[in-house]
Symmetry: C2
Subunit: 121 residues, 2 copies
DNA sequence: CGTCTTGCTTCGATTTTCAGAGCAACGACG
DNA sequence: CGTCGTTGCTCTGAAAATCGAAGCAAGACG
């Protein structure tokens, strides 16, 4: 009956706490979070917003090579998750988002030491 | 010259500190780390190893739905990065890996509160 | 009006991931 | 020895995510 096949299969599901996500039916929040953050550019996007709001194209420029379609998709997910929001100055971390990125702060230190250790190997 | 086109393009590059990675030529360690962790199942894999070593198939079972090929690929990357190693008891976090996952500990708390806040929206 | 810049969409091409079958190596058992 | 069962892992075709680049509507500016 469908004259044309539904071509709407576009939107990948947005992982939210309480919902089933990739690899976990449990609905445990951490699983949704790991799914959300484990998508390409997701971590990077948040990371780039840590110092303040950025306009769409500025944010894209920071992540050289990220296509606008994916950036838009990630932003949509992060907004749905309440980690990022859009306002006058562009995109920025929400209160929650800022709390989240703070947890990642030490990551930078770890990475620096990682570099040293890697060189030693 | 190439009689046949090199069909060996299979192995995606493994992000390591000091090397250029997706979206960053800088070689800054944090960029390599974000690339490494921003691949599907990477975070999840580390997460599942936090409580002790797991055999390949056990690890796969924990991440219901992850294909063995991808698991193998992620493990290869994480081993190259020195975050995971393989031994008698299976795969386990290295000293570095344990330090890394510790940074993610608070993530669980954040996710729990995230769930509460989401419900409130 | 013309020209910028903005956020964002669309589309074909490429890369990554999936799902599952399958294989060699090993240990246990009889 | 032969036959299981399990292991880590590879292979393959198909589906999904991502890329890359062009393009569009809306707003600001002159």
């Amino acid at each position: 009956m469908p004259a044309d096949k539904e071509r709407e299969a576009r939107a990948p599901e947005i992982p939210l706490p309480g919902a089933a996500v990739r690899g976990s039916q449990s609905g445990r929040p951490i699983m949704a979070l790991l799914d959300l953050l484990g998508r390409r550019w997701a971590l990077r996007t948040i990371w780039e917003l840590r110092d303040g709001p950025l306009l769409f194209r500025a944010l894209q420029a920071r992540c050289a090579g990220m296509s606008s379609s994916v950036l838009n998709q990630r932003l949509r997910e992060l907004r749905a998750a309440g980690v990022v929001d859009a306002g006058a100055g562009g995109y920025r971390l929400t209160e929650d988002g800022r709390r989240l990125i703070e947890l990642f702060g030490p990551l930078d230190d770890w990475a620096e030491r990682w570099a040293v250790r890697s060189r030693a190997r």
